[in-house]
Amino acid sequence: MVKEIERAGIPVVHICTVVPISLTVGANRIVPAIAIPHPLGNPAVSKEDEKELRREIVLKAIKALETEVDGQTVFDK
C-alpha cells in the first residue's frame, strides 16, 4: 500500500513496529511503533502517559512527512 500510494506521487509515512520488514518492502519514511499487538499504544502505562506517547508518534510522523529524504529513512530519534 505504501509503495502504491507513493507511486501516485503522494508521500507516505509508514508507522510500523518491525522496521526491517518496512525496509524490505521499500517504505521511504519509517516511524517505529510500540509493539505488534499495540502499535500505537501501550497498555502497560497510564492513560495520560499513553496519550502523550500517541501524540509523540503522530507528531513524529507529521514531521517525517515534511522532511525531504534521500532514500529509505528511519525516524527513530
Binding site: T17, V18, P20, I21, T24, P32, I34, A35, I36, P37
Partner: protein, 428 residues
C-alpha cells in the same frame, strides 16, 4: 548429558479396566484418567474419545498434541515446571509410548486452532493421522477468559500425557536409542576435525495465546540461552500455543524435534553437534534486536562453524529468522534456515515477510496458503463450526454436507518448520 529413550510401540488404543500396555495395545481406564486430569473449576466437562488411523474421524479445533512419556531413571520427571518439579531433565532413562498421542480439543480458545483428519486428503497432511489418539474435549465455563481457557486445557493435556505415560514405566521397550551431548570443551576435544554445528531453536512467544514454556518459564521472558538437546526430549520445552495450526510446534513435536534427532544421527560422523541455543520471537523491535544479538553472540562464543535455525509461526517472526541469520552469518558462521511459506493461493507472492541476502540456504516446509478440500467425515470429535473462522478458513469453508474447503494452514502440523512432516514446496 546422556539419555536413553526406550520406545514402546503402540499399535492400538482401547478403553479398558486398567490403564496398561499389553502386547502393543494401550488400554486406558477412562474413570481413572478423568480423575487424574479433572478438578479444574474453569472447565465444566471433559469428555474422552479415541481416534485411530484410517477412521473416518475429524478432530477439531485441536489445541495441542502430546506424546505420553515417563521418566524411569535419572533426575526429574516429565514436563518439569508443570507436571514435575523443576529438576534438570534429559539424563537417565525415559520410556515413550510411540504411536500414541493425547490430543486436546473442544470449544475454540482463539482463532487459529487446527484440524486433524484420521483418513482422506486431510490425513495425508498431518502427522497425527498416523498416531492412536486419545482425545480430550474440554468445555470451559461461560465467560472464561481466553488465556485462562488455554491454560486449563493445556494442563489437562499435560496431566493426561503424564498419567498415560506411567503405563509404560515397567514395560520393556521395543527399541532403545541413546543420545549424548558432552560438556562443550570435552565435546570439542572428542571430534576436533569435524565442523562444530549447533541448532538455533526459535520459540513462538508473541503472547496473546502464542506462548511457549521452558521449564515452566514463559519464553518471552528469557534471553537466548543454551539447553542440552536431551532436555527437550523430556519435555523441558512445551507448547502453550493456540495459534497457527500448520506451523506451530505442538508439544509432541518439541519432544520429537527432527532437527535434533537428525543432528544426533550425524554427530561424530559428519558434524560435531555441540548443542542447542533457544531463543524467542517477541513483539517489540527492541526484543527482536536483543534476542538476535544474543543468539549471534552465543554462536560465536561456542566457536561454531555452522547453525541450523528453525522458525515457529509466520509473519513478523520472519524478521526474527532473518535477524538471526544475518547476525550469525556476519560472525562468519554458516546458516541454514527452516521455515514455511505464505506465498498466496497461487504460490506467486513473496513467501516470507522479510528477506536478507545472507539467507542463501533455506529449507521450506510447504505453502500454507494452498487451498485443499477435505471430505466430510462420519464422526466429528469437537466442533465443525469454527471452520469458517480459524486462520485458513473463510466464509463458506464449511459446506452443508460437512466437507471443508480451506487453506492448508488449518491442518495441525501440516507445514512444520522443524520438519515434523513430509511436505515441502518446489518451483516448476
Amino acid at each position: 548429558m546422556r539419555l536413553e529413550l526406550g520406545n514402546i510401540f503402540i499399535k492400538d488404543l482401547q478403553f479398558g479396566e486398567a490403564t496398561k500396555v499389553e502386547n502393543g495395545v494401550l488400554y486406558v481406564n477412562k474413570k481413572e484418567l478423568l480423575e487424574a486430569v479433572g478438578g479444574d473449576h474453569r472447565l465444566v466437562s471433559i469428555e474422552v474419545d479415541i481416534a485411530k488411523p484410517g477412521e473416518e474421524t475429524r478432530i477439531m479445533p485441536v489445541k495441542d498434541v502430546i506424546e505420553p512419556r515417563v521418566k524411569v531413571e535419572g533426575p526429574g520427571g516429565i514436563f518439569p515446571g508443570f507436571i514435575s518439579k523443576v529438576d534438570v531433565v534429559g539424563s537417565g532413562k525415559t520410556h515413550v509410548l510411540k504411536g500414541a498421542a493425547v490430543v486436546t480439543a473442544g470449544k475454540i480458545v482463539g482463532f487459529q486452532e487446527g484440524i486433524i483428519d484420521m483418513s482422506g486428503t486431510g490425513a495425508d497432511y498431518t502427522p497425527f493421522s498416523k498416531t492412536n489418539n486419545l482425545v480430550l474435549v474440554c468445555t470451559p465455563t461461560e465467560h472464561l477468559q481466553q488465556h485462562e481457557h488455554e491454560q486449563a486445557v493445556r494442563m489437562v493435556g499435560l496431566k493426561a500425557a503424564a498419567y498415560i505415560g506411567e503405563a509404560g514405566r515397567n514395560v520393556n521397550p521395543d527399541e532403545v536409542k541413546i543420545y549424548e551431548t558432552l560438556p562443550i570443551l570435552e565435546g570439542i576435544k572428542k571430534y576436533p576435525d569435524l565442523p562444530k554445528v549447533a541448532y538455533v531453536y526459535m520459540l513462538q512467544t508473541q503472547g496473546l495465546l502464542h506462548d511457549t514454556y521452558v521449564y515452566g518459564v514463559d519464553a518471552k521472558r528469557i534471553v537466548p540461552t543454551l539447553i542440552y538437546p536431551t532436555e527437550v526430549m523430556d519435555g523441558a520445552i512445551l507448547s502453550g500455543n493456540c495459534v497457527s495450526a500448520c506451523d506451530k510446534n505442538p508439544t509432541y513435536n518439541h519432544l520429537n524435534n527432527p532437527i535434533i534427532e537428525d543432528l544426533y544421527e550425524r554427530h561424530g560422523k559428519d558434524y560435531n553437534f555441540v548443542g542447542v541455543i533457544i531463543t524467542n520471537e517477541n513483539v517489540t523491535l527492541a526484543d527482536k534486536e536483543r534476542s538476535s544479538n544474543w543468539t549471534a553472540k552465543l554462536a560465536e562464543f561456542l566457536g561454531l562453524d555452522a547453525v541450523i535455525i528453525s522458525e515457529e509461526g509466520f509473519g513478523n517472526p520472519d524478521t526474527d529468522l532473518m535477524m538471526n541469520c544475518k547476525k550469525i552469518s556476519a560472525k562468519g558462521i554458516k546458516t541454514v534456515l527452516v521455515t514455511d511459506e505464505y506465498a498466496g493461493r497461487d504460490g506467486a507472492s513473496q513467501s516470507l515477510a522479510d528477506a536478507d541476502k545472507t539467507a542463501d540456504a533455506v529449507v521450506t516446509a510447504g505453502n500454507a496458503n494452498e487451498v485443499i478440500q477435505l471430505p466430510s467425515m462420519k464422526k466429528v470429535i469437537g466442533y465443525l463450526d469454527p471452520a469458517d473462522t480459524i486462520a485458513g478458513g473463510f466464509d463458506g469453508s464449511l459446506r452443508p454436507d460437512g466437507s471443508i474447503m480451506a487453506e492448508l494452514q488449518v491442518i495441525t502440523g501440516a507445514t512444520s518448520e522443524i520438519g515434523f512432516n513430509k511436505l515441502s514446496a518446489t518451483e516448476y
